[in-house]
């Protein structure tokens, strides 16, 4: 049954229905996918997770929140709507359960919940080091089965290779809005392009204004860090195209991430896991803030009065 078209079974031809019938004797986080012209068929989304729970589970198996997330990657050129599965590199749409941030639904937990996240990767070519802010976790199972407790190790980033699954577990004992994302920087952007000159370190003062009479939509990219959300507001976008990054966040700035990213929302009180929680209200003293003159003086940090760096 666990087969490949042509090797262990005939292809399933258009219009045919094929029966797979077998007994599940194991449990774990598994996946399923087409095994015929995988580049096209898996690349177009014929993938899924196959979760098998144990019978008469032991107390340590039982969790309050048991999430299943399937990672994948696509190439959709800006202005088009047909994923190009011929692309082997430079995937530009990186998804969790088929969505990119900010459309990924948050993982909602109540403080103290025991949480399991099952991660699977059926993307074409990239592994994904999945990182959780605020928590460390234990890696408790792979696609081969449970890891004995004595062999589990703590992590804050778990690599999920192509074709692999990983279960991670932690106690959601710290309330907050915690980012959960692939740590590959190009995987937390949407439909990024790479055909730009390298502008890092360039100071293009006045350049944008000079060029705008000629190119009304011109905006120099990436000299001090791009605010992609703001850029999306200012620049005309092709049809059916998402901003590289961005969602207006709780501090007035855009959240400068996209792609393979979601938020774990942990609250002290919850009416329901389906509740729209809004942004976390940070207790006083728990948010990074501008350093005042008194702070700088106390810590012996000198800043030029004009605020510029004169070391160069």
């Amino acid at each position: 049954m666990d087969g490949v078209g042509g090797l262990t079974q005939p292809y399933i031809k258009p219009g045919e229905t094929v029966k797979y019938e077998w007994t599940l004797r194991q449990h774990g986080t598994q996946m399923f996918h087409s095994h015929h012209d995988e580049m096209t068929q898996m690349g177009m989304g014929m993938i899924g997770m196959f979760v098998v729970h144990p019978r008469n589970s032991l107390p340590e198996y039982r969790v309050d929140r048991d999430f299943a997330l399937l990672l994948s990657e696509w190439t959709v050129e800006a202005g088009t709507a047909r994923p190009n599965t011929l692309k082997m590199n430079d995937f530009n749409v990186l998804t969790i359960n088929g969505k990119v941030f900010p459309s990924t639904a948050p993982l909602v937990c109540k403080r103290g919940d025991r949480v399991r996240i099952r991660l699977g990767n059926l993307g074409a070519m990239d592994h994904h080091p999945m990182h959780i802010h605020g928590y460390h976790f234990r890696i408790t199972a792979t696609d081969g089965g449970d890891i004995p407790f004595s062999a589990q190790w703590p992590e804050s980033t778990v690599v999920v290779g192509v074709g692999q699954t990983r279960n991670i577990e932690f106690i959601a004992d710290a309330p907050g809005d915690w980012a959960f994302h692939c740590h590959m920087t190009h995987h937390v952007m949407n439909q990024m392009g790479h055909q730009f000159p390298n502008m890092v370190g360039i100071k293009p003062e006045g350049l944008d204004e000079k060029l705008r009479p000629l190119l009304p939509a011109y905006m120099t990219m990436g000299n001090t860090g791009m605010d992609m959300g703001q850029m999306a507001e200012a620049m005309p976008m092709p049809k059916n195209t998402i901003a590289m990054k961005g969602l207006a966040g709780p501090f007035g700035d855009y959240i400068s991430m996209g792609g393979m990213m979601t938020v774990i929302k942990v609250r002290d009180q919850l009416k329901s896991y389906d509740e729209d929680l809004g942004w976390y209200q940070h207790p006083a003293g728990t948010v990074a803030m501008k350093a005042g003159a008194a702070d700088l003086a106390r810590d012996g940090i000198e800043i030029a009065s004009d605020g510029k760096d004169h070391r160069y």
Partner: protein, 134 residues
């Protein structure tokens, strides 16, 4: 009648169960060990060469299909869907249909056969993140 047994007992009995058809519910033993590899009963050392076949022991009788909320707690699938199932003749039945769908990665970014597909009034289940349970 169901006995309450510890994990260690389960691990220890596993070998006997496999070898001699021990009276213990072998499903239970297998379900509780991670991979079917059980410690050697005499030395308490783990035998790494007992079996590798992912399908588990082959000489067990199927149980009635597990039911959500009763036999297990279903997983949560953010943005996803649980593939519906039914029980037919003691077997849990799922039906997967491979077909073209329209999909939204985000409201601003859709994938379909053609940009002309603007209504996206499709009743199809999104093929991504179908989850099967047992």
């Amino acid at each position: 009648m169901k006995k309450v047994i510890s994990r260690r007992q389960v691990l220890g009995i596993g070998v006997a169960g496999l070898a001699g058809g021990f009276a213990l519910n072998q499903h239970e033993a297998d379900a509780q060990t991670s991979d079917g590899n059980v410690p050697d009963a005499k030395s308490d050392r783990r035998s790494y060469w007992q079996k590798s076949y992912s399908g588990g022991p082959v000489d067990v009788k199927p149980l009635a299909p597990g039911l959500p909320g009763k036999d297990y707690t279903p997983v949560v699938v953010p943005n996803g869907a649980v593939l519906p199932s039914r029980i037919a003749g003691g077997v849990k039945v799922f039906h997967l249909v491979a077909e073209e769908v329209d999909h939204a990665f985000d409201p601003s970014l859709r994938a379909g056969a053609d940009l002309r597909h603007q209504s996206f009034a499709s009743g199809h289940i999104d093929p991504l993140a179908w989850i099967l349970f047992t």
